[in-house]
């Protein structure tokens, strides 16, 4: 082993060891990051508690994402990490700004290349490698970003660890959902609900209002109670509307009955109280006319029977019986009973409607506007998109697209052929019939090359510039025929030139042409 190889190998081993140490630190920092992240998420969830479920969900999502990133970084680092002397040489070159000196030297050593220059290079590289201090070149420390991220996570964990809980469960719930004024209104509403006739919606409303008044109820439970109360009020409202509609139908039925006009009119208005009063007046008038007659059997039982129990027969039936009664004693007694029943029923309905109206008004004061707004906010994204989407536009190709300044059309890109249909002759573009005539020959007739040039022999030998003697006994020169032809053409050209000149000068010979020109030039000058 040469001293250069030994020196370089020793230095690279030291550097490689430091690199491995750094790798271990980095991997440990990633694992520590995962642990801190888990602690941070757990503590953040504890800190948030049940007061902000959205924030808790956000924390969970962020924690999962961060964990995925950290695991990915760790796996990538473990599987793509390179090590070895070549890597150490490259790292040392980069960190010490050696311009690939050690990497080149390692490769020369590895490949076994030998030359005077390579030996000189190895000697220089060995000297450089000996001077390298691995500990200072590759200090054991975390990468700056990893260290900073870990520090921030630890600080955040400490802050969360010692921070007071964000919101004790239940304590902030009433304040969070209902204001003090609303709580008072809920209390008043509860009293109204208790006064209502017993029914399923009334029971549900009472239960929901009790939940709302309970200060220890969590916010989420309060929100559910609010929704239940709203449903109950809606149900009450529907039942009231149904009752009014039923009264309207009864009004139509009673309109033609003699003596019942006022009752029908009050029923048509939905005013059950007035209708009950009118019905009671009718009952009183009927009682006076029947005063001498014995009271019907069973009337006492009827009186003792509570009004509510007559509900099975229904108000409609009671009214029909009351109006259908004639002067017979038995029938008069039955009519009296029916009238009493109708009056009781109408009073009951009037109470129900009044209670329902009061509850409704009170509910509107408590949460009506907020609930309405909440319902509108619950619009789904797809529904919103459907409502706000622009009406679909036709394709530009249809020629019906409205555009500013005009309408866009697509035009055909190929023109039709001349005088033929497209099927017969194709189009103007790419018309390839293949029967085009040949182009005319260009240029004038020329003499054959053999006639123009003749081989000229050279006697003797010539010396080339290279110094070697070679036989170049001929070359091409103008032939005798070509020389004669050239002379003939010169003479002919002179004659043609003279003739052309004389014709162009309107018959004035060349020797006199300048005299004529000067004459006319002077004439013009004189005329001025």
């Amino acid at each position: 082993m040469t001293p250069e190889r030994e020196a370089i190998g020793r230095a690279l081993t030291r550097i490689e060891r430091r690199l491995r140490l750094n790798h271990a630190v980095y991997a440990a920092s990633l694992i520590a990051g995962l642990a801190v992240l888990a602690l941070l998420a757990w503590r953040a969830l504890r800190w948030i508690g049940g007061s902000a479920p959205t924030a808790a969900a956000l924390v969970i999502v962020l924690a999962v994402l961060a964990a995925i990133v950290l695991v990915f970084l760790l796996l990538r680092y473990l599987f793509t990490r390179e090590s070895g002397p070549a890597r150490a040489a490259g790292e040392a070159d980069t960190r010490a700004a050696l311009n690939n000196e050690l990497a080149s030297a390692y490769w020369f050593l590895h490949a076994g290349a030998r030359s005077e220059w390579i030996a000189a290079h190895l000697q220089h590289a060995a000297h450089t490698a000996t001077g390298l201090e691995a500990a200072r070149l590759i200090p054991v420390r975390l990468p700056l970003t990893s260290g900073a991220a870990l520090a921030v996570a630890v600080v955040a964990l400490a802050a969360l660890w010692f921070a007071p809980p964000l919101a004790p469960a239940g304590a902030l719930a009433p304040a969070g959902l209902l204001s003090a004024e609303e709580v008072a209104q809920v209390r008043a509403l509860s009293e109204l609900a208790e006064a209502m006739p017993d029914s399923e919606p009334a029971r549900r409303l009472e239960a929901a209002l009790r939940t709302l008044q309970d200060a220890t109820t969590p916010v989420e439970a309060q929100r559910r109670a609010l929704a239940q109360a709203n449903d109950a009020v809606q149900q009450l409202r529907l039942e009231a509307a149904s009752t009014r509609e039923r009264l309207q139908r009864l009004s139509d039925a009673l309109r033609g009955q003699p003596g019942m006009e006022q009752v029908a009119e009050a029923l048509a208005r939905g005013d059950a109280q007035t209708a009950a009063q009118r019905m009671a007046q009718l009952q009183a008038q009927s009682g006076q006319t029947q005063a001498g007659k014995a009271p019907p059997e069973g009337a006492g039982a009827s009186e003792a029977e509570p009004a509510d129990s007559a509900g099975d027969r229904g108000l409609e039936q009671a009214l029909q019986e009351a109006t259908a009664a004639t002067g017979a004693t038995d029938e008069a007694g039955a009519a009296e009973l029916a009238r009493q029943e109708a009056v009781d029923r109408l009073k009951e309905i009037a109470r129900e409607l009044e209670a329902s109206a009061r509850v409704n008004e009170a509910w509107q004061r408590v949460r009506g506007p907020q609930l309405t707004a909440g319902q509108s906010q619950g619009l789904s994204a797809s529904r919103f998109a459907e409502q706000t989407a622009a009406p679909s536009m036709p394709s530009p190709g249809s020629g019906e697209t409205p555009m500013e300044g005009g309408t866009m059309f697509r035009a055909a890109a190929v023109a039709e052929g001349d005088g033929r249909t497209e099927q017969e002759g194709g189009t103007r573009a790419g018309d390839a019939l293949g029967d085009a005539p040949a182009d005319a020959l260009l240029g004038t007739r020329g003499e054959r090359l053999e006639a123009q040039l003749g081989k000229q022999g050279i006697a003797g030998e010539e010396q080339d510039d290279d110094g070697e003697e070679q036989n170049k006994s001929w070359y091409y020169a103008q032939s005798q025929q070509q020389k004669a032809l050239a002379r003939l053409r010169t003479v002919q050209a002179a004659g043609r030139f003279a003739a052309a000149e004389s014709e162009a000068g309107e018959g004035i010979s060349i020797q006199h042409r300048q005299i004529v020109k000067d004459y006319f030039m002077n004439l013009r000058e004189g005329a001025r």
């Binding site: 690939n100 080149s104 030996a119 000189a120 000996t130 010396q463 080339d464």
Partner: protein, 351 residues
């Protein structure tokens, strides 16, 4: 990071001659190379203002046995630079002004018939201006492709064929062609295959205000600066041999190849910019130019080996004329330099 190096060791960048006792011949040749290069550069700088990078580029090309294409607007000293270099190098210099009616025979020479007093006729090869060490092909794109080809063939073969004979060109044979990028009317732009024959393409920029002051001062005096012949033919040839001897490790060679491959749009190493704007990438001659230019640059930077930094230094000059850009690049005015800078930023060094 010299702090990581023991003071007893050799800090990176120091001259190898001071590092440790090297082989005497190598040491002598490196010193001679650097000294000669420095002298030439200093001497040329006495006449030429600025353009230090281009002077280095021209010298690198000469020492790497290549030929150079100079591109610049008229009047910025392309011809003067070459003439000064010829004066400094003590080499035979000839200048050919390319025109559309210039024929190949006007460059390489022709065989003529001579008749002596005795009537004896002999054929004689009259050497053209290409038979020189330094040939300035001024405005090469003004001649017809036929004439251009004659010159480019001589550049490639280092010899001239005429009259059935091959005439070798004397070494060093170095062609410096100039090209005006502005007046393109009536010119015959060199096709990419012929541009590829040039080792470097150098762009001469317009001088700065200070540079213009210096030019006016130097050229409007009674006596213009004079240069001495500081290097002879033999010394140039020896420098060429020295440059070739610098070793290149395989990782560095791989880096040069990666850069070349990254200029090919169909290559998986191509950058997004290359895929978008380049029609054809560099030829293998580009890789050769990167390595040879890198060798000269390594010697200039006191290195006994070629580094990635050397490859990067010569990359623009070596590759800018070897990229054939597509229509998108023309439309968006993206030049090959911008693409190469992007490639150099993205191709990673071997580690």
């Amino acid at each position: 990071m010299s702090a990581a190096i023991n003071p007893s060791g050799n800090p990176s960048g120091a001259s190898p001659s001071h590092a440790a006792p090297l082989h005497a011949d190598v040491e002598r040749r490196i010193e001679q190379f650097r000294r000669n290069f420095h002298i030439v550069r200093e001497e040329v700088s006495r006449v030429i203002v600025g353009n230090e990078d281009n002077i280095v580029g021209i010298m690198t090309c000469l020492l790497a046995r290549g030929h150079v294409l100079l591109e610049g607007i008229p009047g910025i000293g392309k011809t003067k630079l070459v003439q000064t270099l010829a004066d400094v190098l003590h080499l035979k210099f000839s200048r050919i002004q390319f025109t559309p009616d210039l024929m190949p025979g006007d460059i390489i020479g022709s065989t003529v018939v001579r008749e002596n007093d005795a009537g004896r006729k002999t054929l004689e090869f009259q050497r053209g201006p290409i038979f020189a060490n330094l040939v300035l092909a001024d405005e090469i794109n003004r001649a017809t492709p036929k004439t251009q080809s004659a010159l480019l063939e001589a550049m490639q073969e280092n010899s001239v064929s005429a009259g059935g004979h091959t005439h070798p060109l004397e070494q060093p044979f170095y062609v410096l062609a100039t090209m005006n990028p502005l007046e393109m009317e009536g010119t015959y732009p060199l096709p990419e295959a012929q541009l590829d024959r040039f080792f470097f393409k150098l762009k001469l920029g317009f001088p700065s205000a200070e540079g213009l002051h210096e030019i006016v001062d130097r050229t409007t005096r009674q006596q213009e600066p004079h240069v001495d012949r500081v290097l002879n033919q033999g010394e140039v040839l020896e420098m060429r041999e020295t440059a070739r001897a610098v070793p290149v490790a395989r990782p560095i060679q791989q880096y040069a190849i990666d850069i070349t491959l990254a200029t090919h749009p169909e290559s998986e190493r191509a950058t997004q910019m290359v895929k978008r704007f380049v029609r054809f990438g560099s030829s293998p001659r580009g890789t050769q130019a990167l390595i040879l230019g890198g060798k000269v640059n390594a010697l200039l930077n006191d290195r006994l080996h070629v580094a990635c930094e050397d490859i990067r230094t010569v990359a623009l000059n070596s590759l800018r004329h070897r990229l054939l850009l597509n229509f998108d690049a023309e439309a968006e005015r993206v030049d090959s330099d911008a693409i190469l800078i992007d490639v150099l930023e993205r191709v990673k060094e071997p580690r």
